[in-house]
């Protein structure tokens, strides 16, 4: 059993095809989708998505995403997304560091952009975490 799945970022489609199992970071915590899942609608926390078909597992990092599950198809739409193995570790690290510094600066000066910056920090942390997990998987 497999279900038609598509992972679409606003710049480009990331994955389209049949798959057996998907794991995502839903609004209420991690969730897995198997073929035959009931209709579900949720937004996604910034983080990793795993798509399994047969023996093959693909990992993606998504930001500002939504998940729509229907009996006939699973759709994931995200404002930004990329393959985890396509993100360089040093870039993820430097982005996280820049976001941390921006938040620190904004909180000491009482900037009203603090909420937005903390959100960016959350995204940057999630991205770094996804890349580190990708590297660990690579070594196994």
């Amino acid at each position: 059993m497999a279900v038609k799945t598509r992972l679409l970022a606003s710049q480009k489609p990331l994955f389209e095809g049949e798959c057996d199992f998907i794991v995502l970071r839903g609004a209420d915590g991690d969730l897995g989708v198997l073929p035959g899942h009931s209709p579900l609608l949720t937004w996604l926390k910034p983080g990793e998505v795993m798509v399994r078909r047969g023996e093959k597992e693909d990992y993606f990092f998504l930001e500002d995403g939504f998940l729509e599950v229907l009996p006939e198809r699973v759709s994931v739409m995200a404002k930004r997304g990329e393959r985890c193995d396509a993100i360089p570790l040093d870039r993820a690290e430097s982005m996280r560091k820049a976001a941390e510094e921006a938040v620190a600066r904004a909180s000491s000066s009482g900037d009203e952009k603090l909420a937005e910056l903390s959100r960016e920090l959350e995204v940057a942390s999630a991205r770094l975490e996804a890349v580190e997990r990708q590297r660990r998987r690579g070594r196994e």
Binding site: L8, S10, A27, P39, L41, M77, A78
Partner: protein
């Protein structure tokens, strides 16, 4: 009659124009390829967001977001996407004509406009419509966030019941030669047709709950559609401009050929006239000597 010098000057002028249009054609071709890639990359995402919104409009019951509830007929709001610059043939005129006639049919002439692109702004100033927001000078490498204020203004107009519907108009890039003027109803979200969308009567499971999900999904839906429209429109613009400049270059070539022909005729006529004078003179001299 024009002298040879006038004609040559004219040829030089047309040749300069041809060089400029040819250069613009090549610039547009290069930009078009990149814009086309962006438009085609974004299209599946935008379609899926549209589909999700329409699916919810069809089967969602737990929470009816205002975007899903048809309003009593009032004024309309048009989000009009055009290019900033012209020299692109009838591209913007076609979009504007399609959009305007849709608004007249569905809402009457005094609708509201969110204008994106200078041509849309110019249009809104000419017409008896009310422009509530405008945005010009969007970069080619567009970030979705750039369109946030425009979409928020449109949302506010709807939620405050200034308008009873939001319509989006832009030019879809089909291929290099074809740009399709596209008018799309955004709000209230048109429910998915019976044969498409979810084939179930039951509602979704929402996580965490219907209100929380739809309060996020609906603004994201609106933004995704407007963003997609702008990206498509950019590709259309460069495509149309490339073709317009190609036509201009070839017309310039035609003019140069015609003028060269005239120039040669004038030159030849001059030579013939001089020859006739010389021969006539020589004959007169001979006749006098006899």
């Amino acid at each position: 009659m024009a002298t040879l010098r006038d004609i040559r000057r004219h040829i030089r002028a047309v040749r300069n124009i041809e060089q400029i249009t040819r250069a613009m054609q090549m610039v547009a071709a290069a930009k078009m390829r990149r814009a086309q890639a962006r438009a085609e990359g974004c299209r599946p995402y935008a379609l899926a967001m549209d589909q999700a919104a329409r699916d919810v409009a069809k089967i969602g019951k737990e929470y009816r977001h205002p975007f899903l509830v048809p309003q009593e007929k009032g004024r309309g709001l048009l989000i009009l996407v055009t290019s900033d610059r012209g020299l692109a043939g009838s591209l913007n005129a076609n979009t504007i004509r399609a959009a305007h006639s849709h608004m007249l049919r569905n809402f009457g002439p005094r609708y509201l406009v969110v204008a994106i692109g200078r041509k849309a702004v110019d249009f809104s100033r000419r017409m008896p419509v009310e422009m509530i927001h405008h945005r010009v000078g969007l970069p080619d490498q567009l970030e979705m966030g750039e369109l946030g204020p425009a979409v928020e203004r449109a949302t506010k107009a709807y939620l405050d019941q200034e308008v009873s519907g939001i319509v989006l108009a832009y030019s879809r890039f089909k291929n290099l030669l074809t740009q399709v003027p596209t008018v799309q109803q955004l709000v209230p979200v048109p429910p998915a047709e019976p044969q498409e969308g979810p084939q179930t009567e039951g509602d979704y499971i929402y996580e965490p709950d219907g209100e929380a999900v739809l309060e996020r999904l609906m603004p994201a839906y609106l933004l995704s559609q407007v963003y997609h429209a702008v990206v498509e429109n950019q590709a259309s613009f460069y495509g149309a401009q490339m073709i317009a400049m190609q036509n201009a270059s070839s017309s310039a070539g035609d003019v140069i050929r015609e003028l060269s022909l005239t120039a040669n005729k004038v030159r030849q006529a001059g030579i013939t006239k001089e020859l006739m004078e010389i021969i006539g003179g020589a004959e007169a001299l001979q006749a006098a000597r006899r």
